[in-house]
């Protein structure tokens, strides 16, 4: 981490001298603790993200075309090295985040525990509504698994979680139908509910994994080895079990 912008070190900056060698979550936490008002600019490669504070509350975040909590979490998982700068008394152009900063930070810590170092504390994908942002990040992580063409997390009634794209709807529809058939076959053969399924197709492959409350549906590129992709996905999911 580097502090690249000297403007952040004026007397009005409550973090003066404190941000050096701090991680991004720490800088955010300090900003909240010191009731900072202004803008935290984060740079990663050619990407720029901005997080706006108002009296210690996080009111807005933006990066690329994303804004709000999505942008906040996007910025949070940039792997680094990051360049950060604080600019006090800069007002946000709009308010897109209404979650209390302490709650957002708790969520952020939890998210980083999932996506951070291997010895991070686990979280629980089944945690319900409070874990939705974690799920969003989890999906991003899973979409980065080599060979994965698309991933959808869906409730058992077929509703997509954190994704309302057409592609997500299409995949969720197929996955929902597949789960119905698999469970129907499981009933007929007294095998119980399906735990997972893999389908090999000529254009793409499909994986379905069941948890207590969700199905994870994955489209796998035809050129990828399904078994290897499934193993990597399970490895990615393991810390959150």
């Amino acid at each position: 981490m580097t502090q690249s912008d000297d403007r952040s070190k004026g007397p009005a900056d409550p973090l003066e001298g404190a941000a050096a060698n701090l991680s991004l979550p720490d800088v955010i936490a300090q900003s909240v603790e010191f009731h900072f008002s202004g803008c935290l600019t984060v740079r990663y490669d050619d990407q720029v993200g901005r997080i706006f504070f108002r009296a210690g509350e996080i009111v807005h975040a933006e990066q690329g075309s994303a804004s709000g909590s999505d942008a906040f979490y996007d910025i949070l998982v940039w792997p680094g090295p990051l360049s950060m700068s604080l600019e006090a008394k800069v007002a946000s152009p709009r308010r897109t985040i209404r979650v209390r900063a302490t709650d957002l930070l708790a969520e952020a810590r939890q998210t980083l525990a999932v996506h951070g170092p291997a010895d991070s504390e686990p979280t629980d994908v089944e945690a319900g509504g409070d874990a939705r942002s974690s799920m969003s990040l989890l999906l991003k992580k899973l979409r980065g698994v080599p060979g994965v063409a698309y991933v959808v997390l869906m409730s058992k009634d077929g509703t997509c979680v954190e994704d309302d794209s057409f592609q997500a709807e299409a995949l969720a529809g197929q996955a929902s139908y597949l789960s119905m058939v698999a469970n129907h076959l499981g009933t007929i053969f007294q095998a119980g509910p399906v735990l997972s399924a893999s389908i090999h197709g000529s254009n793409q492959h499909m994986l379905l994994m069941a948890s207590r409350n969700y199905y994870l549906s994955v489209l796998v590129q035809a050129t990828a080895e399904v078994r290897a992709v499934e193993a990597e996905i399970r490895r990615t999911l393991t810390p959150i079990r």
Partner: protein
């Protein structure tokens, strides 16, 4: 014309460790042959219909389906579309998939042609069943004297 019955081939498949039952159905979901422990024929037909319908539905998304593998708590269902039919195998969860793949390759070599399926279907409809043959011939057939067993293409898990 093959002189073995499809039921015989399926029973041979069922002798594979971990395999508990198997069936062959046509693209309409009609059970052409089956070798399951006693089970309601209506349920089997229901299963076959659900299976072929799901394959049809999935093809819109992922193209021609090569194999399906459903995993349950204590069991596994493996389905393999073959020319003119679909083969469904109920296994224990601990089945050795490589071994199953070899056994399926033998089955597919024997019955994997639309003509064979159509003949068996006609036999089933007429109530004749498959033509029987000397069991010793069946053993000799397993030797695959031509050495041209098809590549294992179950490719599941």
């Amino acid at each position: 014309m093959p002189s073995w019955s499809m039921e015989t081939v399926l029973k041979q498949l069922n002798s594979t460790p971990g395999v508990m039952g198997s069936l062959i159905c046509d693209p309409e979901g009609q059970v052409v042959a089956q070798a399951f422990p006693p089970i309601d024929a209506v349920l089997l037909r229901d299963a076959a219909t659900a299976l072929v319908d799901s394959i049809t539905g999935l093809e819109k998304l992922i193209g021609a389906v090569g194999a399906l593998d459903f995993r349950y708590g204590e069991a596994r269902l493996v389905a393999k579309p073959i020319p003119g039919a679909t083969l469904l195998v109920l296994c224990s969860k601990s089945v050795n998939l490589e071994l199953l793949g070899m056994a399926l390759a033998v089955v597919i070599k024997k019955i994997g042609s639309p003509e064979t399926i159509a003949r068996a279907k006609a036999d089933t409809a007429s109530g004749r069943g498959g033509q029987k043959r000397d069991p010793l011939d069946e053993f000799s057939e397993l030797d695959d004297p031509d050495g041209d067993l098809p590549d294992i293409d179950i490719d599941v898990d």
